[in-house]
Amino acid sequence: MIPLYWFLVLSAILFCIGLYAVITRRNTIAILMGIELMLNAANINLIAFWRYLYAGSNLDGVIFALIVFAAAAAEVAVGLGLILSAYRSKETIVANDLDTLKG
């Protein structure tokens, strides 16, 4: 069988790739894609721990992952709406240029 830590290592690598995308990319849509990658990595972790340690007794892991899915969907819908709205009024989606709130 596959040991549990294989899944954990994979999700750690995916999480750090997402982290790199979030810090490095200048396009806000690409930053959102990095966040999606990190959420997916977290979901792998949740499901792996649940499957290996608690699958016989409860459904906590699956429900938690489903809530994460709902949060991700809500976040993408609002996030892309905000990006498109910013693009319409500012003509840019570069994270560095969207600095209206900067004092």
Binding site: L14, R26, N27, I29, I44, R51, Y52, L66, V76
Partner: protein, 172 residues
């Protein structure tokens, strides 16, 4: 090396490669396509974990809805940013930060006091979709998180519409 392990290793390699391509390609649309490959890889990983319901949700929600939404947004904002400036100039520094973070996580993982759990095998019990449905609507189970998630989605719907519509006659 069992068949399952082989499938896992191939899937993991493809997923990580697609992730690296996603953060490194210049064209954003190509990055979105690599992201879809990552989502597929994660769906296969869920399959290996025998979470059949989540495989379906992963494909329908992430690939069918979120990835397509991202592709639409990229197409609508195509001229907003020059392809050569997609990544920050200090990408090497952030790559080092990401690698240090990875090393930290792995160190924490392998020095975890409950390390014997890491090599444990699967707990019994094939996951049942009907059980998930019943648990979600059971007041003793997960009814409250379910309702909160639906309120979150409603708020996102209203917020998305409000942000998305053009506000005519307001200051430009």
């Amino acid at each position: 090396m069992t068949t399952m392990q082989l499938i896992f290793l191939i899937t993991a390699a493809v997923t990580i490669f697609a992730g690296v391509m996603m953060v490194s390609v210049r064209k954003l649309l190509h990055a979105a396509l690599w992201l879809i490959l990552v989502f597929f890889g994660v769906a296969v990983i869920f399959g290996l974990l025998e979470a059949s319901f989540l495989v379906i949700i992963q494909i329908v929600l992430y690939i069918g809805a979120i990835a397509i939404l991202i592709v639409f947004a990229i197409m609508l904002t195509q001229n907003a940013i020059d392809d050569t400036y997609q990544t920050s100039r200090r990408w090497l520094v952030t790559a080092v930060v990401a690698v240090i973070a990875l090393a930290g996580i792995l160190l924490a993982l392998f020095t975890w006091p409950q390390g014997q759990a890491l090599t444990s095998t699967l707990a019994g019990g094939q996951q049942d979709i009907a059980a998930i449905g019943l648990a979600l609507l059971d007041p003793e189970g997960y009814l409250i998180p379910f309702e909160i998630a639906s309120i979150l989605l409603l708020a996102a719907l209203i917020g998305g519409i409000y942000v998305g519509i053009e506000h005519k006659g307001e200051e430009k």
